[in-house]
Symmetry: D3
Subunit: 282 residues, 6 copies
C-alpha cells in the first residue's frame, strides 16, 4: 500500500488537533498531569478488522509535541487484526498521549472502518475477476486518506478528483447531444495521459459508446443478467465497471456477471468505524 | 438550530472543492458544457430521514462560482423528509451545478445521515427524561458541522473540545491520586465559566465524586439497574450522563434508568449517510 | 500555569516574524553578520514585574532557524522578577539572535506587562475572597496568550470566546423579552457542559435572574454598597461577578463587597508592556 | 492617511473572529436572537481621543455576514472626537451586530488608543521641527495597522520591518569592527532604494558616522544638551533621530534640541485603549 | 480552452499582490492618488503573440478592491494579437489600476509568453500528426496556469502531477529490474483510470515495453530516423511521444517521424514573456 | 549573497510539492521503489552558468521527507559552473530523491537561469560604473527568490514592493499635477527611511525633478547620448537609473553614458532556465 505523503496529510491532522485545542489548552490534562510524567500505552483492537491509517493517526502526537512519544508497531496498515490485538506500543509524555488520544483514534478508527468494510466485500467476490473500487463519495477533506484505506482493504481506487480522469455521465451526454459529441469535445481538452470512461444505462447506449475510442464503461444500475450481457458485448475491448445499488447482499451476483470492477460509494460514505482504543499504563 | 457561522465552515468546503479540482479543471464538464448553458435541478431524497447541512452544502456552489446558482428551499435543516421529497430547487449555470454536485452531496448526505441517526435514538427514548448527546468521536475537520447535525436530529452537544469544559477520566484520576486532588488541580486553572464532569466506574467512586463541587458525572459502562441506583444516589445534585456500549437495542432501557443524558459516539463516527441525489433538468 | 499548546501559538509567532522579513531578508544583519558568528546573550529585566510568555517568545528563534539558539532559563513564567534579573541565558548563532530579537521581545514584554498588571490587582485584593478575572477585550490574534498571561499574574480566565460559555447581556434580554425567556432559549441550544451567566443592572433584575437555573450573575456597574447587598441576596446560590468601571483605585473596595470575581478589561486592553531587553555578548 | 490595503488586514480580522467562534457558534446570540431581527446601533465615544481603524474594525461585520450591516460614518480616521460623539451609525441584522461587536471594538479601541497617544505627543512638540515617530516595538500581527494608527495621530513611520531599510545598531557595529566596515558591507547588499541609518551613543561615534554615506543617525539615549550639540555637528547633512527613554515629561525638551525625529516605542507597546462602545437600539 | 477554476488560481494572485503590499501600502499611489479619482485604461500589445491568462490577471484588480474596476474584453485567451492591439478596456478607480498594474501584467505577460511560444511550435509542425505537449518543468506555484497557457497556444497537456498518471522512467526501471516488473508493481496500486507510460532509450527497450499492457511510450532523445523506426514498430498500438533535446530548429523533423506527441520543457521553463502594457488615461 | 530566510521560502516550496502530490501519491515511485531503497545522486550542470537557489531547491527533499536526504555541496550560490560540474552530491532515500527531483530542479534551474543572465550583463558592463538592477517584473510568488538570484549574478535589487520605496511614475505625475506636488504628497506619508525616485522622460523634466528633495531619477527610454547629458545635469546630486528597452546589444553603450544603474525586466521575466539535471546512482 502506498501511503499518502505527509505533506498532504499534515494539514488535516493539524486541523483536527485545533478542533480540540482552539482556545489553547486541554483544560483537564494540562492542569492535572505534569509535563514530566511519562507513560506507556497500547492501541488495542476492541473488534476484528483491517488496519489503516497508522502514520496519519500517530502524526497527531508528533504535531502536538515533536519527539514526545515513541511508537513501536507490531502491526501494519492492511493487516487483519483480531479483538485484543495490540496494534501499536507507545511510550512517552503522558500529557501528549492523553491530549492527542482522541484525534489519533478518530483518524485510525475511521480509516480502519473503511479498510474493514472494503475487505469484507473483496472477500465476498473472491474467485471472480471483479475488483472492488471506491468512488468520489468521500468525506470532505479526507479523500486521499479514505482512498488509501480502500487500498488497505484490498480495494482499488477510482479517479481521485474531477481533474485526473474523465467520466462522462448522463447529464454530460444530454448536453453534448451524443456520446460521439461528448467524447470528441473531451478529446480537444484532455491530454494523452487522461483516461475516458462513459456511463451507460442501456445496452444500446453501450454499443454506441463502444464505437468511440474510450477506456472504460460504467454500467449504471444494471442487474446481474444485463451486466453479463454487457460484458459479452464489450468482449474485453474496454474496462467494464458496475455501479449503483450494490451492497453486500448482491455484490457476489454482480461480480459473477464478469465485470472488471464494482464501485461502491458505501465504502467511504457509510462504513462504520472500527473499534480501537488506547490503553494507557501510567 | 443554531448553524455554525460561515467563517468556520468555509475552509472545509474550500478544501473539499480542491480535492476535486487540485489541478485546475473538471476535465469532463469544462470541456463538454459551455459557460452559458443554464439548468434547473432539484436535491431529492432517495430515502426518508432528517435534513442537516443545507447552508454548508450549498456553499460549495457559491465558492465555486459566486452568484452562479440560485436556490429556493422548500425544506429546512431539522425537518423530516420522505423519499421523493424535493429539498432544494436550484437554478443557474449548468457547469457549476455539475462540478459542485459531488462536494455538495458529500456534505449534505453525511450530515443528514447523522441527523437521521440521532433522531431515531431521540424518538426511541421519547417520554423519558433522557437527552441523547454526542461525543468528541467526530470525523477530523468536521466537528462543528457534525455537532450541528446532532442538534438537527434533536440531540444535544457534549463539549466541543478539550478547551471548553473539563471531563476528568480514569487516567486523569490515576495520575491525580484521587477525585479530590483532580478536582482541586483543575479548579486552580479552570475559570468560573467552565463546567467539570467526572467519569466514574462504580457507585463508590460516584459517592466520592459527589463530595466535590462538580457539575456532572459520567456513569461509564453501567447496566440499567446500576444506572438507576446511581440516579437515586445523585438525587438531582449533579447532571447524570450514561455512556459506553449504548446502542439502539438498549438505549430505551438506559433512558428509563432516569439518567439526564445518554452520550453515544455512534452518532458521529458510524452513522451511514442519508441517500440524497441531485436531479438536473437541462 | 498551563501554557497554550504550541500548535495554537505557532501561527502568531510566524506571522510576527514575517512582519519583519516579508521581502526575505534582514538587510542589516544578513549583510554584516556571518552565518558562522556565535554569541551569547541574556534576556534582562529593566523593570520589576511578573514574567509571562517565555515559550512563545523563544519560539521566534526556533521558527527562524531551527536549533540555532539554545536557552537556559533561570526564571519561569509567573515568577516575580526584579530590575537587573537575567531571565534567560541564550547561546547560539548571532544572526538568529539579532534577527529574532524584536519579535521575541515584542511577545515577552507584552505578555509580561499583562501578568504584571494582573499581579498588582491580585495583590491589592489579597485577603478578600475576590478573584481577578479577564474579559474578551483582548488584542486581535493574541487571546490565548493574553489569557495565559493573566493566569501567570494570578488572575482567572473568564470565557475564551462566544462559543464556550453563555453570557446573557442587556441587549439579549431586551430581545428575548425577559430573563426567563432568554435562559429558556439558551437551554434549547447549549449542552450540559455550558455555563450560563446573566448580566444584571439592578437588584430587582438580580432577583429575577435568581429564579432561573443559571451559574453566575454579572453585576454591572454597581457601587460597593450595592454589590454587598447583591452578595447578600445571592447568598452563595450562584457565582457573583462585579464588572464595569473598576480600576486600581477602587478594586479593593469592590472586593470587600464579598463578590467572588472582579473582571477587568484593562488587564488585556491597556496594560503597558514590561520593559525587558536582550543584552548580546558577541 | 493612507490606509493599509484590505488584502493585508483581512487575515487578522478573520483570526480575531475565529477566536470568538472557533467551535462554530455564538452560543448566546445565536439561540436568543432570530436571524430576521434588525437593529440600529451607534459606535459612541466614552472618552475624548483620536480615531483610527474604522475600515478594519467594520470589516468584522462584513466577514461575519457579508452585506448584513450598513454603516454611515459621520467621523473619519484621524479626527479628534469628544466623549459622547457618535462615530459610526450602523443598521442591519441584530445577530451580526451582537456577535461582531467585541472584535470590532477590540480593533477600533486599540488603534484609536495609539492614535490618541501619538496625537498627545505630537501636540506637545508643536512648534518645534521634531516629528514623532514609531518603532518596530509593535504588537505581533498588528504592525501595519498600528503604524497606520500612528499616522492617524499625526506621527510618522519608522521602517516597517528588517527588510525595507537598514538600521545599524551597536551589536552590528561590534561585529563589523567599525562604522566604515559596517556601512561597506551593507552597501554590497542593499540596493539603491534602501536608506541606511546608524545608531550612535557618543558624539565621537557620531563624527565617525558622518564620514560615511548614510541617510540618518539614531542618537541613542542622549540628554537634550548632548542632542543639541549633535544637531549642530550634523548640520543638516543627515536626518537626526532621538530615541531611548523619551516620555511625555521630557519629549518637549528633546524636541527643542532641534532633532528631526523622536521615535517612541510607547506609542505601540503601551498606549492604553480609547474607550469606545457600541450602543444598540433594537 | 477550459480555464482553471478561480478557487485554484486565487491563492497565487493573492500571494502576488502581497509581494507588493506586505507592509500594507502602495507608498506612492496611496499618497498621490485620491480614492475618488477614476480613470480608463487599456491593456495593449507591444508585440505580436497569443493571449493567455486574462481571468487570472484581472483577478488582481478584483482581489485588491472588489468591484472597483470594470473590464470589457475585445480579445480573448487563445487569440493571436498584433502589436498595438487593445486586449482589454478597463475603467474604474485609478488607485486600483495603478496598484494592481504590475501584478496583473506579470501574470498576463508570463502566460501569454508561454502561449506564444507554444503556438510557434504548433504552427511549425502543422500538417503532421504531431501534437506539441508540455512537461512538469513548470514554474513553482504556476503549474495549472502554465498548462492552461499551453492549451491557449494550441498545445496539449502531459500529466499535471505525479498523482494523476504513471510515467516509468529509467531510474524506476533500474530499481524494478525490468519493464515487466515495473508495470506489474504499478498495476497493483494504480486504479483503472490511470494511464501508464514507459520511457525507453532504445528500440530493444521499446519492443520489451510493447509486451506489456501500457498506454504510451516516451521515446527519449532519439533522432528523427530512429523515431520513425520506433513509430513503425509501435504501429498504432500505443501513443508515441518524442522527448529530449527538441527545439524550434528540429521540431519539424521530429514531427515528420510520425510520432503522436512531442513534449518540450522549454514552453514552460524558458519562454520569454509577451510584451504587454497598461496605458492609463486619467 | 544574503539568502532569503527559510520562513519566507518554505510556503512556495510546499506549494510546488503539492502541485505534484495533490491527490496524495507519486503513483509511479511509491509503487515501484521501496521505502528502504537508498541511492546516491548528483546535481550536474548540463550547461555553463551561475548557480542560485540551492537552499530553496534542497528544501524540497526536506519538506517531503525530513532527514531522508543528505547533501554535500562542492559548489555554492553565486559561483560560475561549467558543463559537467557536479553541484551537489546527494545521498539518502531513493523515493525521496525521485519524488522531489522535479520540484528541486524547477527551482534551481529557474533561479540559476536568472543568475546566469544577470552575470552576462554584469560582465558586459564591466569597467563602467553602472550596476545592473532588477525590477518588479517578477514571476508571481517568486519575487524574494528571483531578486536573490539577481544578487547571485552580481546584480543589485531595485525596490521589493510598492511598500518599501517610492517611485513616482508618469501616471502619478499626471494626477498630482507636477513633480513638486507629487513629492510633497508623498512626503506627508512616507517616513524618513523611505527613498524617493522620480521617473522622467525628458531633460526638462529631469531639471524640474532636481529641484525637489529626492534620492534618484529613473531616466526612461533615453538613448545613450541623452543619458550622458542627463548624467552631466545631475552631476552626482542623485542616483541615476536608466531603464526601458535595454538589452544585451545596447547595454554597454548605455553603461558608458555614466549612469549609476541600469534596470532590466528581462532578468526576471524572460531569462531562460539553466540546464541542470539529477543523475541518480541507485
Amino acid at each position: 500500500m502506498t501511503k499518502p505523503h505527509r505533506i498532504v496529510v499534515e494539514p488535516l491532522v493539524r486541523t483536527a488537533l485545533l478542533e480540540d485545542l482552539a482556545h489553547g489548552n486541554d483544560l483537564t490534562t494540562d492542569s492535572i498531569v505534569s509535563a514530566e510524567t511519562h507513560a506507556t500505552a497500547g492501541i488495542v483492537a476492541r473488534a476484528p478488522g483491517v488496519l489503516a491509517g497508522l502514520d496519519a493517526a500517530l502524526l497527531a502526537f508528533e504535531l502536538l509535541d515533536p519527539g514526545a512519544v515513541r511508537a513501536s508497531r507490531p502491526r501494519a496498515d492492511g493487516e487483519r487484526i483480531e479483538r485484543g490485538d495490540t496494534i501499536v506500543a507507545l511510550e512517552g509524555r503522558a500529557r501528549t498521549l492523553l491530549t492527542g488520544e482522541r484525534t489519533m483514534l478518530n483518524i485510525l478508527c475511521h480509516l480502519s472502518g473503511i479498510a474493514t468494510a472494503t475487505r469484507a466485500l473483496v472477500d465476498t467476490v473472491a474467485g471472480t475477476k471483479a475488483t472492488i473500487a471506491d468512488t468520489r463519495k468521500t468525506t470532505p477533506g479526507l479523500r486521499a486518506l479514505e482512498k488509501y484505506a480502500v487500498r488497505c482493504g484490498g480495494g482499488s481506487n477510482h479517479r481521485f478528483g474531477l481533474d485526473d480522469a474523465v467520466l462522462i455521465k448522463d447529464n454530460h451526454l444530454a448536453l453534448a447531444g451524443s456520446i460521439r459529441q461528448a467524447v470528441a469535445r473531451v478529446r480537444t481538452v484532455a491530454g494523452h495521459m487522461v483516461k475516458i470512461e462513459v456511463e451507460v444505462d442501456t445496452l444500446d447506449q453501450l454499443r454506441e459508446a463502444l464505437n468511440e475510442r474510450i477506456d472504460a464503461v460504467l454500467l449504471d444500475n444494471m442487474n446481474p443478467a444485463t451486466l453479463a450481457e454487457a460484458v459479452r458485448i464489450v468482449d474485453g475491448r474496454v474496462i467494464t465497471e458496475a455501479s449503483g445499488g450494490i451492497r453486500h447482499e448482491n455484490v457476489r451476483a454482480v461480480a459473477e456477471s464478469g465485470v472488471d470492477l464494482i464501485s461502491i460509494g458505501y465504502l467511504t460514505h457509510s462504513a462504520p468505524q472500527l473499534d480501537l482504543g488506547l490503553d494507557i499504563v501510567l
